[in-house]
Amino acid sequence: MAELVLDITLAVLLLSMAWGALHAPIINNGIGLFVAFGIVLALTWARLGAPDLALAEAAIGAGLTGVLLLHAARAIPVPTATTVMRPLQMMPSILLILLVLGLLTVITSSGPDSVFQQTPPLPDLVEERIADSGVEHPVTAVLMNFRAWDTLLELFVLLLALFGVRQLFPGQRVITRTGTQLSAADKPVKVQPWPPLMAWMGVLAPLLVLTGGYLLWHGSTAPGGAFQAGAILAAAAAVLHLIQNLPALRWSLWPVRALICGGALLFLVVAISTAWLGAGWLHYPQPGNKLLIVTIEVIATLSIAVTLALLVTGDSDDFTR
């Protein structure tokens, strides 16, 4: 009975916030509702027993996406009512009706004797093979070992998003060819942020870094892992950026580039070397696979953190506020 009440409240919250996020008169209210939707969604993942996803959703879905949306909303000059409804074209409405029919079929077919009833073979397969996968937690085992090729392509998707964003502002890039420092005149004047804010961020940032590290290390035996830890470290970077003492994350500095490309490069090098020297593509050597997985995860977390930080806070020399 209690579960039913929880399910219904979560469902009502999800649907109302989803509709509100899209059709709220002022864009900022919409974004606020979307962030709240992300948090309730994280709650739903926890309710459905998927802690990894709850962590990732709270850190990435609600947190970073919300920051990105608010940052983009500042580009819109005046927060006017922007829900001008486009005339409902013929084609989309046909598509919509088809999908609503799909909804009915899904509901009717997933009744008690539902088509989905039969248990899939893969989870028990994962149970058997988890012993020699090098990690105890099943989700991390699937991510880092059984379906490692997906995670490798994943890192390339992140790299590509950052590169795509970078070349959107070619004009404003101020790379001084000779590397001379900007003259004192046009260096942005350092406004000392509000002292209590500095103090609290001083407490929060190290705490976030600590939690990120804990999640990364704990990921091999319990929920957590490279993506969640990377997202939390990126949140720490965003917090530091707020009080302006984030070290200059510039694409032109080669260590930053090395960090960003590190995760994808290491994973690819491991793949190629296992194909060439070892038994096969991404076929980790049996004794050393735990060590290999942990090193890949650590480097991947760093590269995810720096990539997401650059995506969220924007390259400091890339475009001036």
Binding site: V106, F116, L160, A264, L265, G280, H283
Partner: protein, 481 residues
């Protein structure tokens, strides 16, 4: 299979190295250096995929590689069949042609083109090889993000079509993912080869395949869902729009083919066959009609992509309707012939556009005099699009028409193909006639770039050369999977 792995890993390694070095590509020398590197990479991956093609043609069964060595259901699997190897070679060939164009032609490519084109090459190679439904989703996402980044290279004017393209392709990938989720829910498997054994015809499978087809049709800009393509392809830089039309719209078509010829049960495939064929004919007619009406050169070429995809969809439809494996060769000959011809069309159109300084077709008067080689390439490639006898396009159309002519009762499909040929002839000759009008010549603004025009001619000659290898190609692609 090792050769195929090289042709996947090589572009990805170059991408990461290009990021690490972040070499500025401003001066002519730096373009030569970066372009030279990419040319070497594409030549190596072309040769390795050619070896993979020979290996695949030699062995009869398809070779699988389980990534990570785990047994069947768990691991993602690569599969190497003649069709996959051919597409790997085709991707490397197109990238080689565009790398040559980018390095040696004077207008060249935007400076961030090189790493993004290697990204596209790597994600396409990963897509052709992958035999796992979710892995196809990730490669599709990688593909559309790099395609959008390439379109956005053309500067602020192209940002609006790029944003629309990105939003629609994200929505399409999520439709596809929804279908994959339902399939996994129903069968508990993601591997395509294992699904073919297990799949049976019920409501959930129909809904899942419907969702995946809707998503893939939107990404491949097949007729009813093609509105984003003309704006995106016309506003992209020349080399990029050639890449998009030749390769990027073909990947979702490949997945559609894999889905319906392997995953879907035959009885369902036979029902969807005529629908695809009909949509193909409508695409031909409406795409061709829009191509005839538009005043802009690049929009004409973009609409001709939408039209020619109609041919491929008709071949797929007839293949599914009659379950005859040799129709496969018609489908893949269309894809390759259209890819080569479209590359040549876009390069020639780009050359004429920059030399004559106009985007309108009316500005091409006297192009045969001002930019002769580019116009020649345009006409030759156009000939293959129409399907004039010795060209690759004709080869594909002949393989498609052969079974139709043998059974008299399916005359409507023959009528559809002839109508399509008529419409494509109309919009190609519309431009050729304008180019021969030497009365009011539109003088060129800048001196024409001969190297670029000759490079635009190379793919056109290749597509006509396809006829020489016609017999082997038909026999190689004939036995389907």
């Amino acid at each position: 299979m090792n050769y195929a792995l090289v042709s996947v890993a090589l572009p990805m390694i170059t991408v990461v190295l290009l990021f690490l070095v972040a070499a500025p590509v401003y001066s002519r020398l730096q373009t030569l250096v970066t372009g030279g590197l990419v040319i070497i990479i594409t030549v190596i991956s072309l040769s390795t995929s050619w070896l993979a093609l020979l290996e695949a043609a030699a062995q009869s069964t398809t070779s699988y590689l389980a990534i990570g060595g785990w047994e069947d259901g768990l691991a993602i699997r690569f599969r190497l069949t003649p069709v996959v190897a051919l597409m790997l070679t085709f991707t490397a060939l197109i990238h080689l042609l565009l790398a040559l164009y980018g390095t040696f032609s004077r207008h060249g490519v935007p400076k961030d083109y090189w790493s993004l084109s290697c990204f596209l090459h790597g994600s396409l190679a990963a897509l052709w090889l992958s035999a796992d439904l979710f892995n196809l989703y990730v490669t599709l996402e990688l593909l559309s993000l790099s395609a959008v980044a390439l379109v956005a290279l053309a500067g602020p004017g192209a940002w609006k079509p790029a944003a629309d393209y990105l939003l629609l392709s994200l929505a399409a990938s999520l439709c596809y993912l929804f279908g994959v989720a339902l399939i996994y829910g129903r069968y508990g498997l993601l591997d395509i080869a294992m699904l073919t054994v297990v799949v049976n015809d019920d409501l959930i499978t129909r809904l899942a395949l419907l969702l995946m087809t809707a998503g893939l049709m939107l990404k491949a800009a097949l007729w009813p869902l093609h509105l984003w393509l003309p704006a995106a392809h016309a506003s992209a830089p020349t080399a990029v729009s050639a890449l998009l039309s030749a390769l990027v719209v073909k990947a979702p078509l490949f997945i559609l083919w894999v889905l319906w010829s392997q995953v879907a049960p035959p009885v369902m495939a036979q029902q969807i066959g005529p629908v695809f064929a009909l949509i193909g004919i409508l695409a031909l007619v409406f795409g061709g009609f829009s191509a005839m009406r538009t005043p802009y050169l690049k929009v004409l070429v973009a609409y001709s992509t939408v039209a020619q995809l109609g041919y491929a969809l008709m071949a797929l439809g007839l293949l599914l309707a009659w379950q005859q494996p040799e129709m496969n060769s018609a489908l893949w000959l269309f894809v390759i012939a259209h890819g080569l011809a479209k590359t040549s069309l876009f390069l020639a159109a780009g050359q004429m556009q920059t030399t004559l300084g106009t985007k309108r077709i009316s500005g091409l008067r006297g192009a045969t005099q001002t930019t002769p080689i580019a116009m020649f390439a345009f006409a030759v490639a156009g000939g293959s699009l129409i399907g004039l006898p010795p060209s690759g396009g004709f080869l594909a159309k002949w393989v498609l028409l052969e079974p139709l002519l043998s059974q008299p009762q399916n005359w409507p499909w023959v009528l559809g193909i002839l109508l399509g040929t008529l419409v494509s002839a109309a919009y190609i000759f519309r431009l050729v006639v304008m180019a021969f009008d030497r009365a009011r010549i539109n003088p060129p603004d800048i001196s024409s770039d001969h190297v670029g025009q000759w490079l635009a001619l190379v793919p056109a000659v290749l597509v006509w050369g396809m006829a020489l290898a016609g017999e082997q190609l038909i026999q190689l692609l004939g036995e389907g999977i």
